[in-house]
């Protein structure tokens, strides 16, 4: 990390940066608005498509590296009975720069990095991560559902991002470089951003009101695998996968084969521990037979098992699970309830 890690960029810098990168043949992914008002990260072919009006992108950052569905291998049965098996080709060679994700989502990459590279190194995930430089935008207006701070993050958290951008009201921005990848990007964007004065202060961190203590929660979880609490807390949960699919750290997946008579592909698809069939054996036995067990697994995994195994809480407080839940299931209330017990 070089001394100089702060850069100053004038209003309109994003447009210039994106155009510059695009003209270099770099794939640019940035927030794009849809008709229904949602904003999501998507590859852009010009800076014009980019929007900056959002609290957070609707779908989590993880899908750029761990797509919802991807081909792992392709196979074709030959006339002689042999089977031709091919790995699905690696992601494109060219770089990718991701603009506009929030610090909570980048923090979630730490969780994913751990899982996809412990013991066995998931090639596809790693290749996608390697080609991407992540330019996160610091959060200015968290909403009541946001709770990154109690889980160790911050609206200004730099965890997981190569460059963190603090946008000022006038459109100019302060860019904080956190990694060598970020440095490389800034070199490339020399024309867009210049080194900032050492006294350029960072903006104030906005308040996050929600508070709880993951340590205390873990202590309770340690002792309460069996507790009536779970049945009560999970009653309203209808067992859909929207919280897990929108969660930036959830990473469960399924592997399925699809195809026609002689050809097919093996795919990796997101899966969810909320689904009733997730752990069901072919015999009919299901280690997690009810929604209570499944909801418990979700909380336990994020706040107990994952910290025990990998040393960090598998929740970044993005609040998507609260916002997306169709029946009003609220993880933070549940955690509050746990803390109060």
């Amino acid at each position: 990390m070089s001394e100089q890690n702060l850069f100053e960029a004038p209003a309109g810098w994003l447009k210039s940066a994106v155009d510059a990168l695009l003209s270099d043949g770099v794939e640019v992914v940035a927030p794009v608005g849809a008709e229904d008002g949602t904003v999501d990260l998507a590859p852009v072919s010009s800076s014009g498509a980019i929007t900056l009006e959002y609290l957070n992108v609707n779908q989590p950052l993880k899908r750029l590296f761990f797509p919802q569905t991807e081909v792992l291998i392709e196979f074709e049965r030959q006339d002689d009975g042999d089977i031709d098996v091919k790995s699905q080709s690696a992601p494109p060679e060219e770089e990718m720069v991701v603009f506009g994700c929030r610090p909570c989502d980048t923090a979630a990459l730490d969780v994913l990095d751990k899982v996809f590279a412990w013991d066995y190194d998931d090639l596809r995930y790693r290749e996608r991560r390697e080609r991407a430089t992540i330019v996160a935008f610091a959060c200015t207006g968290p909403d009541p559902q946001c709770f990154c701070v109690p889980v160790g993050g911050s609206p200004h958290g730099s965890q997981g991002s190569d460059v963190l951008v603090f946008t000022r009201d006038d459109g100019s921005a302060l860019l904080e470089v956190n990694t060598p990848k970020g440095e490389k990007l800034m070199e490339r964007l020399g024309a867009v951003a210049r080194p900032a004065q050492p006294d350029s202060g960072l903006p104030d961190v906005p308040d996050i009101h929600t508070g709880f203590d993951p340590e205390k929660i873990k202590l309770w979880l340690d002792d309460n695998f069996e507790n009536e609490f779970w049945a009560g807390a999970s009653l309203m949960c209808v067992g859909c996968g929207s919280c897990t699919y929108l969660c930036p750290t959830c990473h469960c997946f399924d592997i399925v084969d699809e195809g026609i008579w002689n050809r097919g592909e093996r795919r990796r698809n997101w899966d969810s521990c909320s689904f009733g069939q997730f752990t069901a054996h072919a015999s009919g036995h299901n280690p997690r037979p009810d929604q209570a067990a499944r909801y418990r697994q979700r909380v336990m995994h994020k706040f107990k098992y994952f910290p025990e195994r990998f040393g960090l809480v598998a929740c970044v407080g993005c609040g998507r699970c609260l916002r997306a839940c169709g029946v009003g299931q609220n993880l933070v209330s549940v955690l509050h309830d746990i803390e109060k017990t």
Partner: protein, 157 residues
Amino acid sequence: MSEEKPKKDGQDKWEPRIIAFLCNWCSYAGADLAGMSRFGYPAPIRVIKVPCSGRVDPLFVLRSFEQGADMVLVSGCHPGDCHYTSGNYHARRKLLAFRELLTFLGIDPRRFKISWVSAAEGGKWSSLVAEVTEEARALGPYKEFPRSVSEGVSDEG
């Protein structure tokens, strides 16, 4: 499968793939009769026999498209003639509603045919197949529909 690929016998004309579900008692017998009576009909039709048109699940239609069908035909006994007394009446309600749904979703209803062909209607079968095959040829390959194995295209969603 690429529809444009030349056929193995060297014939380079594209032919539609039409999957037909025929009830055992009427339409299949009708097709049989067409054969026995030496009525010719175009080759692209591929027949799957089912006990009754009432056995045809809309899933079959969907799956056929996924597997590469350019047209799907379901054929059963004429109303009132069902071997199982009412299977074709059930089929009629379900399949017409299903077609309504497909149409609403922009899946070209011309690619999903329903017909009644009795065991005695070898001639009707023959002319029906000729007619729908001609239509399928005119419609061309159903490229829009996402097939089970895409031709080299990754379809990450």
